[in-house]
Amino acid sequence: MFYREAGQFKTTYRADQAVFPIRQDQIFIVVWLAVGFFLVPLISSEYLLRAILIPFLILALAALGLNLLVGYCGQLSLGTGGFMAVGAYAAYNLCVRIPQLNPLIAFLLAGGVATLVGIGFGIPSLRIKGYYLAVATLAAQFFLDWVFSRVAWFTNNTPSGSISAPPVTLFRFTFDTPVRKYLLCLAFLVLFAAIAKNLVRGRIGRAWMATRDMDVAAEIIGIRPMYAKLSAFAISSFVIGVAGGLWAFVHLGSWEPLAFDVNRSFSILFMVIIGGLGSILGSILGAAFITVLPLMLNQLPEWLGVPISTAMISNLETMTFGSLIVFFLIVEPLGLARLWRIAKEKMRLWPFPY
């Protein structure tokens, strides 16, 4: 009842092609953006911003990048952590060696570096199907782990292997308070989400989805599956690289290679699966879910009134992630995003059951 489309007829194709064709959706998105940019920073505590919202935004960006590859193009990548590391280390090296370079530009350049690395590891396996890309990206992950911990040049010869990033500035403006950092990350997320949405509803997105669904048929139409996969890989790596730069500079401040290990890769993959493969909104929902879940589990001892050791909590976390993955794959392979759409459908019909 609240969500009626009745009376909203599209008279031009242009109106029909809009991202948010339904009036309610248009209002919705404006409200969300307003809340995000204005309300949240005002009412959130520093802890909330620093420990929850900022990591959530950056991981959502990484999940968005990964979803383009896995969800839209159907190629499985287990190397997300490694590519984030590439972004982080590339940005670090650029900033340290070219002091005049603005970190924001460095992030974008670092994304480019991640793209090149991604293409380098991806090309051999794009000619073949199935799990092979997964193996190749896992290879990238382990190789990059090793490179960043052993090759001293990347850490600027810091003996401890742990490096600190310079502060992020834009002209005279320094992003040092949690609120500013939060807004910066939110801006990045919104910008990339918009670009991703545009790509996905046009020629390139369709080529990706065609390759995912049936690459033989795609080739017959004239789409070249290899180029589609390569472009998905390239763009995905770029976004993930930028996210890596943000993660290192804005969230962590100082880090070691371990921050980008294979567990990080799996965690982002889980965000994509749970949030919804092939959905931009899904990436964001998945990131929110996975960020919030450990916090809720940490509160479990309090709620149950039973003392649970931290080791046990961490085990529970692992088990819960695993079970949720299986659960979502069985029950709702399109993830939280689909559940959200179903909820909207129900709102259209409410109070009628169907």
Binding site: L76, V135, M319, T320, I325
Partner: protein, 303 residues
């Protein structure tokens, strides 16, 4: 020269262990077309269960045997659970979904195993002789030192491989398993009971995992890193082919030997740690040259 042979043998022995794990993968892939990411977790889980049960039962007359029987039972139950809760609902989904489901299973197994049995390192002693034997005295002065438990491991692996190979080729169930791997729906339509077959396959894979866990655990101790072996088995499969038992063995040996040799001879040049990625880069090269592996079959898509 003697040193080279020692390193080589050491690598081959490690390769045997990889092969055992890869064998489990191949079984499941051959029989259900599913890439079981949880195989390594199964190895760890089986070994953990065995070790802890042995401890719990240490006052009985034969802790090892009793624990072994119970662990086998646990693995059967596990196979049944996985079939029921995960495989059956996902029966017609694309391979990638099943793969990700096994990823989920591996996490659950890891978490559960550690929650129930704890996460310390446990020493596993099942009576495999540990004294080193001296071999090749005629070739090399002083001979080459080979740990006898490695020889036992190789022997066990050999028996397993031969047995499984025969099983797949000669028996009725083996044929049914191959049919299922080829096409689930077609197999069902000729009356092959999918669910039953899958429980069997996953049980056998679970038992193979148990054997791998025993062998490996007795050599290195049962600890969490055992689970990471799963990741190493992926390159083994790329080398050997996803569906070939022989490939799993040969691939494992090549990777094991290659790793050790490159670590020892090339490692000092680049600061060590080559072992972490050697297997993967080799797999990557294979993907370029021969993606179906040494013994795999080329895929022909019928349109």
């Amino acid at each position: 020269m003697g040193f080279f042979i020692e390193v080589l043998l050491g690598g081959l022995m490690a390769g045997v262990l990889y092969s055992l794990v890869a064998l489990g993968f191949v079984l499941i892939f051959k029989a259900s077309g599913v890439f079981n990411f949880a195989q390594g977790a199964m190895v760890l889980f089986a070994a953990l269960t065995l070790v802890r049960l042995m401890e719990l039962l240490k006052s009985t007359f034969s802790p090892f045997l009793l624990a072994l029987v119970l662990t086998v039972g646990v693995m059967i139950a596990l196979a049944w659970l996985i079939e029921r809760l995960v495989l059956r609902p996902l029966v017609n989904q694309p391979g990638i979904s099943l793969f990700m489901a096994t990823l989920g299973i591996s996490y659950v197994l890891d978490g559960f195993g550690q929650a129930v049995w704890g996460s310390d390192v446990y020493m596993l002693d099942v009576g495999i002789p540990k004294r080193p034997i001296v071999l090749f005295e005629s070739l090399v002065p002083g001979g080459v030192l080979v740990p006898s438990e490695d020889l036992v491991a190789a022997a066990i692996a050999g028996v397993l491989v031969a047995g499984l190979g025969l099983f797949f080729q000669k028996t009725r169930i083996g044929r049914a398993l191959r049919a299922v791997a080829d096409d689930h729906q077609a197999a069902q339509s000729v009356g092959i009971p999918l669910n039953y077959i899958w429980v069997i396959v996953w049980t056998v894979a679970g038992l193979v995992a148990l054997v791998a866990g025993i062998v490996w655990g007795s050599k290195l101790g049962v600890q969490f890193s055992l689970g990471l072996v799963a990741l190493k088995a992926l390159p083994v499969l790329i080398l050997g082919g996803f569906e070939s038992i022989l490939g799993a063995v040969v691939g494992g040996l090549i990777i094991g030997a290659g790793e050790k040799l490159s670590e020892v001879y090339l490692g000092p040049l680049v600061g060590g740690g080559i072992e972490n990625w050697f297997a993967y880069v080799v797999a990557l090269l294979f993907l370029l040259i021969r993606p179906e592996g040494l013994f795999g079959e080329r895929h022909i898509d019928r349109v």
